[in-house]
């Protein structure tokens, strides 16, 4: 490489790492028009990986209030602008100007915003019910609780009250994409129900209802029944009164612990 070429490369590298003179700490472009333009930019640039509604695909799910790599506006701007090295997330500065990146950031934040709903119940009473009904047997709060169900430490920042209420009444109404209840029968006649942890052509791994980690070669099993739409979580529609359901929902909405 010629000296000229080398200098050109160095300049280019400097240009790439050079940041705009001052990136605002807070997003200066958050109007309705900015959201709309951000939405169009998102469809053209981001939807192919992150999904048209930002709920993820080849890229991460962005329809959540807290983004792991972008805890604040400045961080979100930088992730979009610089990309994520070592991943397929490309830097947007190549094609978008600062104004457009902020508009995109505005739209991305709108994807994960859970509206502040009016929640009628009493969170404190709900907390007691949560304990007494045995919810912690399956759900973790912080480091305490069971592992069969999803941790609920920050459930209030990820889900709305209406969603949570439906979930308590009809637990199978919405299950995570990767969640699957399976029932297997071993060659020696054991029937085991659990949540699938992993699977391939030849083997399957699961957590059974007593929290044991199990792994089998498929040729050790007589059958594997997949039970999509089923969950070990019982319905609380008849266990709690309407008022008690409100209380538990209020409690869950109040859970906004650290991710």
């Amino acid at each position: 490489m010629s000296l000229c070429g080398l200098l050109a490369v160095q300049l280019l590298l400097m240009w790439q790492v050079e940041l705009p003179t001052e990136v605002a700490k807070q997003n200066p472009y958050t109007s309705v028009a900015d959201v709309q333009h951000g939405k169009r930019l998102f469809a053209a640039n981001c939807a192919v990986c992150h999904g048209p509604d930002g709920s993820g695909g080849r890229g991460a799910n962005l329809a959540r209030p807290k983004l792991q790599r972008a805890p604040d506006d400045h961080a979100l701007f930088m992730v979009i602008r610089q990309g994520v090295p070592g991943t397929e997330m490309p830097p947007a500065w190549l094609v978008l100007n600062e104004h457009e990146i902020w508009q995109l950031a505005t739209y991305v934040r709108s994807l994960g915003r859970v509206a502040q709903e009016h929640v009628p119940g009493d969170a404190r009473a709900g907390g007691k019910l949560f304990e007494s009904a045995g919810c912690t047997g399956c759900h973790q709060l912080g480091s305490a609780g069971g592992r069969l169900g999803p941790p609920l430490t920050d459930i209030g920042s990820r889900r709305g009250a209406a969603y949570l209420r439906t979930k308590l009444s009809e637990p199978a109404s919405s299950l995570p994409e990767e969640f699957l209840q399976v029932q297997i029968v071993t060659r020696d006649g054991k029937r085991i129900t659990g949540i699938r942890l992993n699977e391939d052509t030849y083997s399957i791994q699961l957590r059974d209802l007593s929290d044991q980690l199990l792994s089998f070669w498929k040729d050790e099993l007589v059958s594997i029944e997949k039970q999509p739409g089923r969950t070990p979580m019982p319905s609380y529609r008849d266990r709690f009164s309407e008022g008690q359901l409100d209380d538990v929902v209020a409690y869950l909405v109040s859970l906004r612990g650290a991710l």
Partner: protein
């Protein structure tokens, strides 16, 4: 002293020149693997039979080479007289001693930080000719390396990477030329296929896969849409030296999922093109998916077979397309002879008697999304099929999955993604896969071996009566080529997104595959 001399002689790696004649008759030296697909006909078949259905249970790792790069390892190694050439991200080349797995030299070249590439900074392999090794780069350059040292002989710009052009495919060496395809179909580039003089790097010809306004085919593009029509050439084609014709698949039209701005058939996107190898002039084309709005590129491997089709001996090209149809074409004329789905598809109701699909109503992308099979990742994809002359079967790693396709806005800006929409997986439908053996003239299924996930790895068939394949969960496996019965497997610990190949080392057969971030080489237990 005598012993020392003997050992020295054994240690010598004697490399002859890889002449065009050797490439042309690659079948006659199955101990080497001289081109991306094993031979010009792209059979990905090994005539070696030391490893066979009887002893496959004794197949064990011989050595593993850990790649430096953590991007996907999509390389097919080439082997020439005791040296294995592998590529790794972004466009590095490493020469390995096939006996020990130890590196002889490496060529490492960092990519510019502002490279645009849709799907990972990957490289699928090199080409060899005479004493040179050729590699394309993610910043759209073609580089010739000295096969013995890795030093650069020449380095030419194929296209401007800042507008989204890139090279990920292995080049194809033929006669005195290096044919190289390009990528960038998600960036509104205008596609082409290039040939360069192997000795100098001077461009020999270029075939634009999107005709300029006024040229034949340009009437298939509305307005100025041809300028960003994509139709890239990002997987290695095949070559018939007797006809002197290069066969190459082309990619999706741009923008991918929004066809409104480009009404018409959009030639030569999603085509098989047949070009004169000396001039790059178009002999014929066959378009699999006119006016594609599902991103189902025809960048798969054209497999050349001389066969008897309906009692008539013919020179054929077999093609398992990403659009989920299997095709048999006459490779002298491009005439459509037969087509049949080999995986689930809902985008077409049928193929007419000229092979043109009849679009299914309601399968076009909309702003709110439409469920369609296959997923844009296809019924198969870039990874290789295999044809075994021994079993006379065509093997394909098939994907069974659907997607929800969306139409969106697409504003062309140089270097920016130009997709016009996107896609999602169908919730609750993770999909599955299979290795399928098709009767080559009819596309009828002979057997299938089910896989848990839709695969991203190709297949190799061998004279040992085996078909090797890989899966997303890291298993490298061997099947009985006649029945599909599973005979052997090995957990590599990493996703397999590559193609297997086979060669001889010290007279002993080896099978190699890139898995995770490593090259695995297997041989029979001694």
């Amino acid at each position: 002293m005598r012993v020392t001399i003997f050992l020295l002689l054994v240690g010598v790696i004697s490399q002859a020149q890889v002449t065009f004649e050797r490439l042309r008759h690659a079948e006659s030296e199955p101990g080497n693997w001289l081109t991306y697909s094993g031979n010009y006909s792209a059979h990905r078949y090994s005539a070696l039979d030391q490893i066979n259905t009887q002893n496959i249970g004794h197949l064990r790792p011989s050595w593993v080479y850990q790649l430096d790069a953590l991007d996907k390892a999509e390389t097919t190694p080439l082997v020439v007289d005791g040296v294995m050439y592998v590529t790794e991200s972004p466009s590095n080349v490493v020469a390995l001693d096939t006996r020990t797995g130890r590196a002889l030299w490496s060529f490492r070249r960092p990519a510019p930080k502002d490279v645009r590439i849709c799907c990972g900074q990957v490289n699928r392999g090199v080409a060899v000719l005479d004493d040179l090794v050729f590699v394309g780069t993610v910043d759209a350059r073609l580089i010739a390396l000295d096969a013995k040292t890795g030093s650069v002989r020449w380095n030419v710009t194929v296209a401007d990477y800042k507008t989204g052009h890139a090279i990920t495919a292995a080049p194809l060496a033929l006669k005195d030329k290096i044919v190289v395809g390009m990528a960038g179909g998600e960036f509104g580039v205008r596609g082409f296929l290039d040939a360069y003089d192997a000795k100098t790097g001077k461009q020999a010809w270029r075939f634009w896969t999107v005709p300029v306004k006024g040229e034949p085919g340009s009437e298939t593009w509305a307005g100025e849409s041809w300028k960003n029509g994509a139709a890239t050439t990002w997987i290695t084609g095949s070559y018939d030296p007797d006809l002197n014709v290069v066969y190459w698949g082309t990619g999706n039209p741009g923008p991918d999922w929004n066809g409104d701005v480009r009404s018409g058939d959009n030639l030569y996107s999603d085509c098989l093109i047949a070009l004169d190898a000396d001039t790059g002039k178009l002999k014929w084309h066959f378009q699999f998916t006119p006016h594609d709005v599902w991103d189902i590129d025809a960048t798969e491997i054209p497999v050349l077979v001389d066969g008897v089709f309906r009692e008539q001996p013919r020179k054929l090209v077999l093609f398992a397309n990403r659009n989920a149809f299997y095709y048999v074409l006459d490779r002298q004329t491009g005439q459509f002879l037969h087509g049949k789905p080999y995986a689930r598809q809902t985008w077409a109701t049928q193929l007419d008697d000229r092979g043109r699909p009849v679009p299914a109503p309601g399968a076009q992308p909309t702003e709110t999304g439409v469920k369609v099979y296959p997923h844009s990742a296809g019924g198969t994809n870039w990874f290789s099929p295999s044809y075994s002359p021994k079993t006379n079967l065509f093997y394909v790693a098939a994907r069974e999955s659907g997607g929800v396709v969306y139409k969106g806005e697409a504003e062309y800006r140089p270097g920016a993604e130009y997709n016009g929409g996107g896609l999602r997986n169908i919730p609750g439908e993770p999909g599955s896969g299979a290795i399928r053996a098709l009767e080559p003239m009819s596309g009828e299924l002979r057997w299938e071996y089910p896989l848990f996930s839709p695969p991203w790895a190709g297949v190799l068939s061998t004279a040992g009566g085996l078909v090797f394949g890989g899966c997303d969960e890291g298993y490298f496996f061997a099947l009985d080529a006649a029945s599909g019965k599973p005979l052997w497997r090995f957990q590599t610990g990493g996703k397999i997104i590559s193609n297997p190949m086979s060669y001889l080392s010290d007279g002993k057969q080896r099978v190699a595959i890139a898995a995770g971030h490593a090259i695995y080489v297997f041989g029979l237990e001694e």
